[in-house]
Symmetry: C2
Subunit: 628 residues, 2 copies
């Protein structure tokens, strides 16, 4: 961190619970200040002086008191009332020990237009504030009645010309209107930039008021160019705190400490983007080295049988632990039944499940340092003599993400230290792990997004909607290393969808779908069928429609049908051929996937057929998958 | 039902599950036809001929096959492919045994503009269809690339001028754009009106595509003027089926039979609105006669103590059952501990809860007949000799709604038949039951809306959002009899809000809040405080803000504070004074409420303070409420 990092602040409205809960969560996460949102004070059964004392005890500055609404431009009788109201709020601010009030542009139906009148009102308010040593900043709400842009707000502040009156900028109010701050430095003197609020959001085509009130996100979780915005504001000489003001229904329903930690991480990431502070550099991701399963002996036997049916062979036994390595070409599965381990804890809580995934990247220790700087929990396993310790970080659901060095030709792979290897790598089979999808409870999605983006530098794909027969599934993939690591996240409000059922089985979130990259999908699927793999039966109607829709020849269609293969083609002609298995004990399933011509998706067009087929014959096959 | 009632049809996309599930649910609800939504066929692992046979077995006509997308206006090479695609879908239709295909206006980026070209394409398609005895109808999608209004679609159909080509109308696509069908009769000849799709929706300010794909509702559940639309279409001579086409995330996640039943009810209600069919007339609602609680003896004692603290007195014992009547003025509470009863079943499933509510209305038996016509379950209790049988209907959560005749002066009230009365009505106390609020799981909200609107004729208020400290609560009140019956419905996606917790405790839904109407709120609250009622403590900061915001005098503020009273004032000067209790065992709570000057709301402005205060001291008072 450099000396000039601005203070970090968060509005109490971002967090759930009572005012003391919120303050404690903000302090525990490491914020230096809080915005006191008035509603949180009104519902608190202590005095403003007690709030001040709590903040002092926690080392939190009160950066601003907000919001003061519907002030400027009121007709005469109401104008007097508005001034009285301001005086009463100044009393509260002095008891709180904060000197800055946020006034947002009026939405009152009786508010009169005209910058002169607004300037006169704000000037009087600032004069009254100044008498008490207080200050006022004026913010353009994106849906303000007469003032919705920061340039309009600035015209009023400029005309009012009072030292106790300045501007409050807010990334959401600016970016949601498609506006920017490119001319801020040329327009507003630095001493008039009193306060800065930061929020991101997904791009939604809805009214800006609802968008703002329910769907804001922390920087990096959404799609707005918040870093560009912040760069513009800093270039204009802003010297105050960076303050998060997020109205989000899910944040308000989530534990306040988790949300506060995510808020701090998002600011640290944003500061890095803008050059206000440094973090250990982002990794270069090279692939998924393995997926690890937590199993008991019975489920391990069943899963090994299912893996064998997909062409995997046992490649080694761990030197000191009850762990097997199964391998097909470049795809590695670790089957862990070690007692008293991270895996066994996971098994006890959830039954058979994916307990870890490993990324290959340039420098594991640098990633560990980055995780520590972002307060993501780091985990180091207990190891036997001569074994290599692989560092890991914990994803928001507790899944371990191991960090494995991407080896140059000839370097010694991790497996040779830890395993008695029975088989080496050059044996055909899969190219590697194409993608690993996670089912995520709705309230965890944004935490995952931040984890993959801020810690690993993965970027989100456009979101998809997948029609499960029992409700909607929303999917958004995070991709790193130019496609070396692909992680779709699936979320469903419905507990009856496949995703909803996985979320229940996995206690909130977990990897539920692992796709193996094949050079030739038909060959891989044919082998799997021959070995009795539980591949999904695809209805003939699907192939009939595929013929009508894409115009594949009958022969090709028949080949796909024979191999249980689904097919997709993108606008540029990229092709995707893929087949799925039934689920293993309702916990996870596998896919054989072959990409061609730069295809970058996941076959979303086929998801409805896949999901219906998975529901059609649940757990009725015992031959290969142990899915009784 | 009159002879000319159109057939009732529903699109398979409205319902959850596999295609056979959907067909069975539609038939069980009483639909005469289904639209086969193509995706449901593609994911079905049987032939179209098998679908045809299933429908025949179930007595369902296939009213249409849909959708055929992106057909008209394609550039030459793609045009040939589109025609081939049509021929393949005609094959499917013939196997299905349906003669009508829905073509919706193209959204393809390559689609060429121009009505002539579109007309030529559709004419050729119609000609090909006609050769097989099939027909085609063309629908303007509200977000179509070149065609988004029915008048544009009609110009194309008119120009194509083929007997096998007609128009498909859809209430959502028309009404979502603020359009109407006022000139339909003057514009389109009846024989060109091939098909009609009906959907309602809440008024949402979002892009029309997302609105349509996720938020459609059955007629009567939303806010669009669907009845006006249907009147216009029928006036134009439409003679086909009325078909529901609803894309709704919650419907797709809900049990298909419940949703199908609601669909049929909504059509019956809509037909009544438009004069296509009759139902026994709507009731005249006069009030809430009583609220009934399912209790064991221990919780009954506790609740009786809490009721006494609010000014209720035991007014009678049931002649044959273990049931007490508690009364304060016009407000009646029935405390039911009868074993082997509807109440005891409820108690066993949920613990202490509201198991019934009784409406006073003009003609209970006519309402029973209406309920039967709408397939709402009717319930008649077992009674003792000489007792009166009060009919009831079951709300979507299983709560009984008793139907009590509104008496003229001098008629014998129900209580005298069934109870040994210890006390008569003229004893001061509350005026009656002001409102009873229900906590409802998100997926049940629309079923409740239909129940209150279609069966009882209640109308929804504007929706409110209430900020609980642990998430958002959305509230929408249904009001009947000019305010005689007021029933707010509260829903929350968060399980951590008060509403979310009530929903869990009440197993999906239930009355969780009963407000008693007081002539003088201060007097009623003072009495309650004196008797030790567990009224919520309201923070001083609330009164400080009330003074600043509304400008009440200090003396009045102090009076409110002394009596735990919240205060609200509407734009017309109507006033609301109200106080709340803590919750009784996390199941329900009470309110003392006084309306003045025509105030019609529920004090939503104070909800945040109420909800925070209820979370502040949960279950810590044992003196009056038995809330250990």
């Amino acid at each position: 961190m450099t000396a000039r990092r601005p203070d970090r602040s968060i509005a109490t409205v971002c967090l759930s619970g009572s005012l003391p809960d919120k303050l404690e969560a903000a302090a525990a996460a490491g914020f230096e200040g809080v915005e006191i949102f008035e509603n949180d004070l009104l519902t608190f059964d202590g005095t403003p002086a007690e709030v001040r004392a709590m903040c002092e005890d926690l080392g939190l500055a009160i950066t601003i008191f907000q919001p003061f609404r519907d002030f400027e431009g009121m007709p005469e009788g109401l104008r007097v009332r508005a001034m009285d109201r301001a005086e009463r709020k100044f009393d509260t601010m002095q008891a709180l020990g904060t000197d800055l009030l946020l006034v947002c542009s009026s939405v009152h139906p009786a508010a009169l237009p005209g910058a002169d009148r607004a300037a006169a009102d704000l000037r009087e308010m600032a004069e009254r504030a100044a008498k008490r040593g207080l200050r006022v900043c004026y913010e353009a709400l994106a849906w303000g009645r007469h003032v919705s842009r920061w340039r309009q707000a600035w015209e009023i502040v400029r005309a009012a010309d009072h030292p106790a009156l300045g501007l409050c900028l807010d990334s959401f109010h600016t970016l949601s209107l498609g506006d920017d701050v490119d001319d801020l430095a040329a327009t507003v003197p630095p001493e008039k930039l009193f306060f800065l609020q930061l929020a991101d959001a997904p791009r939604l085509a809805m009214d800006v008021l609802s968008w703002s009130r329910h769907h804001r996100l922390f920087p990096g979780q959404g799609e707005l160019p918040v870093a560009d915005f912040l760069r513009g504001v800093m270039a204009a000489g802003y010297a105050g705190p960076l303050s998060l003001e997020i109205f989000n229904d899910e944040f308000r329903a989530a534990p306040s400490r988790r949300i506060a930690r995510d808020g701090l991480r998002s600011l640290a990431w944003l500061e890095e983007q803008v050059g206000l502070a440094e973090l250990p550099a982002l990794p270069r991701l090279a692939g998924v080295e393995f997926v690890e399963f937590a199993l008991d002996h019975e489920s391990r036997e069943d899963l090994a049988r299912m893996a064998a049916s997909l062409g995997f062979r046992r490649a080694g036994m761990h030197r000191s632990k009850d762990v097997e390595l199964w391998r097909s070409g470049g795809a590695n599965l670790v089957l862990n039944s070690e007692p008293d381990s991270a895996a066994s804890e996971r098994f006890e809580a959830r039954g058979p499940c994916v307990c870890a995934i490993a990324f290959r990247l340039d420098d594991p220790e640098r990633l560990v340092a980055r995780a520590e700087a972002l307060s993501y929990p780091v985990w180091r396993e207990r190891i036997g003599a001569g074994e290599r310790r692989i560092p890991a970080v914990r994803a928001p659901d507790g899944t371990l993400v191991y960090l494995v060095a991407d080896l140059a030709e000839g370097e010694r792979p991790i497996w040779e230290d830890d395993f008695h290897l029975e088989q080496d790598r050059a044996d055909g089979g899969f190219l590697g792990i194409d993608h690993a999808a996670q089912a995520v409870a709705p309230g965890l999605m944004d935490s995952f997004a931040l984890f993959y983006r801020a810690l690993f530098g993965m970027e989100p794909d456009a979101p998809w909607e997948l029609p499960d027969p029992y409700g909607l599934v929303r999917s958004r993939a995070f991709v790193g290393g130019q496609g070396a690591v692909r992680l779709p996240l699936n979320v469903s409000e419905s507990g009856r969808t496949g995703t909803g059922r996985f979320v229940s089985a996995l206690a909130g979130a977990g990897v539920h779908h692992i796709a193996f990259a094949a050079a030739d999908a038909a060959e891989a699927a044919a082998g799997a069928v021959a070995r009795g793999a539980p591949l999904l039966e695809i209805p003939a109607n699907y192939y009939e429609d595929l013929g009508a829709r894409i115009g594949l020849e009958e022969e090709e269609l028949a080949g796909h049908a024979a191999h249980h293969l689904l097919y997709d083609r993108d606008a540029a002609g990229g092709e995707f051929r893929h087949a799925y298995t039934h689920a293993f004990r309702d916990r996870f399933f596998f896919e054989i996937a072959a990409r061609g011509g730069g295809y970058a998706g996941f076959g979303a067009a086929n998801a409805a057929v896949r999901m219906a087929a998975q529901r059609k014959t649940p757990r009725s096959r015992g031959d290969a998958g142990g899915e009784q």
